[in-house]
């Protein structure tokens, strides 16, 4: 087994040596082109396109959680909170929910006639980023002195708190007959995005939705890549690897961790805001604990700390969850004479996938470059005096 693995690694190294430098760039451009023309290959409103839209939005969330969990090493189990806050930002600032107010900024002629607060989609997107970044820092604050599992417990609790507030917000009066949320009834008829130059966003033609979220993904991806290779990105990894050594080297603990929470939350907020508009409703029932775990599974399957892994994990689980299981394989059990639908066991399927990936490829599908170095470079080091570290244990401290 290990021989086989060594042989594979050798082939791969030989392959990587032979591919030219522009390979990565060419691959990125190819993916970009495929990403852009993808909706022309599906119908203008098909199950596949719908699944793809959701999958791309999941990839954005996965990228956000990857900042917190993967790069900075802060296990956040309450990420659904930022989905909720992003979606509520969209609901509050882009629907008739606050009907007693009349604020309109750069919206479509239709929305301009309606009561309530109606801001342009881009403005709400920015608002959701701000709201979530602030919320991320507030949630991060009590975890600063904690490590590992304890961070997970506190963030989990915050995720639940936000969920409970969402449900009970309909009883929280803001005066003038207005409430904080609409609970399980949902804030309904959220405005579709409106850009004067683009065609209309509707359920009949979902392509604009796809391009919108694809654009958001590109922006988030760009920001992620830039930060990874920066002073801040290195500082996160240093804190993740060894907090004591990191602060002794001059990395400010509070500021650096807060930035991780804020940036991670902001990306979640962007995806949440998009979902608010796409589903045209913001319903308290959407924000379940299971969703936090779902996003975490994307990050882990992709490869903890890996940006491309997070994208792949998000797309993969998003497509499986929203296209493959409900649209393609849902009737599979009945073909074997079993009386259930595949959608009713989807969590079991995800659990199974997670186990498979963890057993066969514990570093994730597209591991972080640094981790990849750890896994492959034993080829190089065996010739050296030093034996390579055996596996994914990257603790660093002896």
């Amino acid at each position: 087994m290990s021989e086989l693995r060594a042989q594979l690694a050798e082939w791969r190294a030989a392959f990587e040596e032979r591919v030219p430098r522009w390979w990565n760039r060419a691959l990125a451009i190819l993916l970009l082109v495929v990403g852009v023309i993808f909706p022309f290959l599906t119908g203008s409103s098909s199950g596949l396109l719908n699944g793809a839209i959701i999958a791309v939005a999941y990839a954005v969330m996965s990228l956000g959680l990857n900042v917190v969990v993967g790069m900075a090493g802060l296990l956040d189990l309450g990420y659904v909170a930022f989905y909720a806050l992003g979606a509520y930002s969209m609901g509050w600032f882009g629907s008739e929910f606050f009907a007693k107010l009349n604020i309109h900024v750069l919206v479509s002629p239709v929305a301009g006639q309606l009561p309530g607060i109606h801001l342009n989609f881009v403005l709400i997107l920015i608002a959701s980023v701000v709201v979530c970044a602030v919320a991320g820092m507030i949630i991060g604050l009590p975890t600063l002195r904690l490590r590992g599992d304890y961070i997970a417990i506190v963030t989990l609790a915050f995720g639940e708190i936000i969920g409970v507030i969402a449900v009970n917000g309909q009883s929280v009066s803001l005066g003038n007959g207005m409430t904080l949320t609409a609970g399980n009834l949902g804030i309904s008829a959220v405005d579709p995005p409106y850009f004067p130059i683009s065609r209309a966003f509707s359920l009949l033609d979902e392509r604009p939705w796809y391009w919108l979220i694809f654009g958001i993904l590109l922006i988030v991806l760009f920001v992620n890549l830039r930060i990874r290779d920066s002073r801040l990105g290195r500082a996160w990894v240093a804190l993740r690897e060894d907090e004591v050594a990191a602060v002794s080297m001059g990395i400010p603990l509070v500021k650096t961790k807060m930035l991780a929470y804020a940036i991670g939350a902001a990306f979640g907020g962007m995806a949440g805001a998009f979902f608010g508009a796409y589903y045209t409703t913001v319903n308290a029932g959407q924000f379940q604990f299971g969703f936090s775990i779902f996003i975490l599974a994307m990050v882990i399957i992709g490869g903890l700390g890996s940006i491309w892994g997070a994208v792949l994990g998000g797309l993969l689980l998003g497509l499986i969850n929203n296209y493959l299981i409900p649209d393609v394989l849902n009737d599979l059990p009945s073909k074997f004479g079993l009386h259930f639908q595949l959608t009713s066991v989807e969590f079991g399927i995800f659990g199974f996938l997670l186990v498979i990936v963890m057993v066969l490829r514990p570093q994730g599908l597209l591991p972080e470059r640094r981790r990849k170095l750890e896994f492959t470079s034993d080829l190089v080091t065996t010739t050296d005096t030093q034996l390579a570290e055996p596996s994914a244990t990257s603790g660093g401290v002896i």
Binding site: R231, E241, M249, R370, G395
Partner: protein, 270 residues
């Protein structure tokens, strides 16, 4: 240069000490780890802190670098009070350290480890990282080049610069740790048992290297060390701790002849 804040007792230094720890006490619950130890480091000297295991040396180190806060006493560095300052602030002021057990960042390459050391001297924030204006690119490039120079300076081979720090040979890991500490442009370098696990030849090389460091980079060095050959060979002053107390202080010859030191290390006769 008498810019020191008004001293609350008579131990204020008159000499140009780069670091002056005054009557430091540290308690962990009921345990008295460091008991009323004062300690001055003259500028551009090499001084050592020695003592049997559990004497409180590393605790003392951790207070100087801000990882622990002293229960009593105060620490002046370069004329400023750093008693309650955060570790990253102290690093920014010019104190750098290595660790007794090597604590390199395992997922980072040797060069990235050293670049982390330069963190306090860089300015790029979130927007700098994302927008990457020319000054950030320059900063990043300079940091990388400096890290490369430092690694070469401490004797890590070029081909090892881009390998993961934890995959380097043990001696090289020690070197990377020193380079990482040097990257913060310190005035005072604290080395916690740098020769641990080294053979006599390597220790000898390190001794010469410490002198070179002091002379090339105008550093002051504080050393915790068990290897008496290194300590006696390199130190200008030695402070001996035992059970959290200072039991002796002076130049190597004085300390070697001090009966209290001999007793602490070898036990009482008869």
């Amino acid at each position: 240069m008498t810019t020191l804040p008004a001293p609350n007792d008579a131990v204020a230094p008159a000499e140009p000490f780069i670091l002056s720890a005054q009557r430091i006490t540290k308690r962990f619950g009921g345990l008295l780890a460091v008991d009323d130890v004062s300690f001055d480091i003259p500028e551009r000297s090499i001084v050592s802190l020695i003592g049997p295991n559990g004497a409180g040396k590393t605790t003392y180190f951790n207070m100087l670098t801000g990882l622990y806060r002293p229960t009593e006493g105060r620490i002046l560095f370069d004329g400023r009070n750093i008693t309650r300052a955060r570790p990253d602030i102290i690093t920014a002021r010019g104190v750098a350290r290595t660790f007794q057990n090597i604590r390199l960042f395992g997922a980072l390459t040797a060069i990235e480890n050293v670049m982390i050391g330069h963190h306090a001297r860089m300015r790029a924030g979130v927007f700098g990282a994302v927008l990457r204006p020319p000054w950030v690119q320059r900063e990043e490039k300079e940091t990388r080049e400096r890290a490369r120079d430092l690694l070469t300076y401490v004797g890590v081979k070029e081909r090892d610069h881009d390998r993961l720090a934890t995959q380097l040979a043990y001696g090289d890991q020690r070197r990377v740790e020193i380079a990482r500490a040097l990257a913060s442009s310190p005035k005072l370098l604290l080395l916690d048992e740098p020769t641990a696990g080294m053979n006599p030849r390597e220790s000898g090389v390190l001794t010469d290297f410490m002198r070179a460091l002091r002379d090339d980079l105008k550093l002051t060095i504080l050393l915790i060390e068990h290897d008496m050959k290194v300590v006696m060979g390199v130190s200008e002053r030695i402070t001996v701790l035992d059970h959290g107390r200072k039991i002796a202080e002076g130049d190597p010859a004085e300390v070697r002849a001090n009966p209290a030191v001999i007793e602490a290390y070898l036990g009482k006769e008869g």
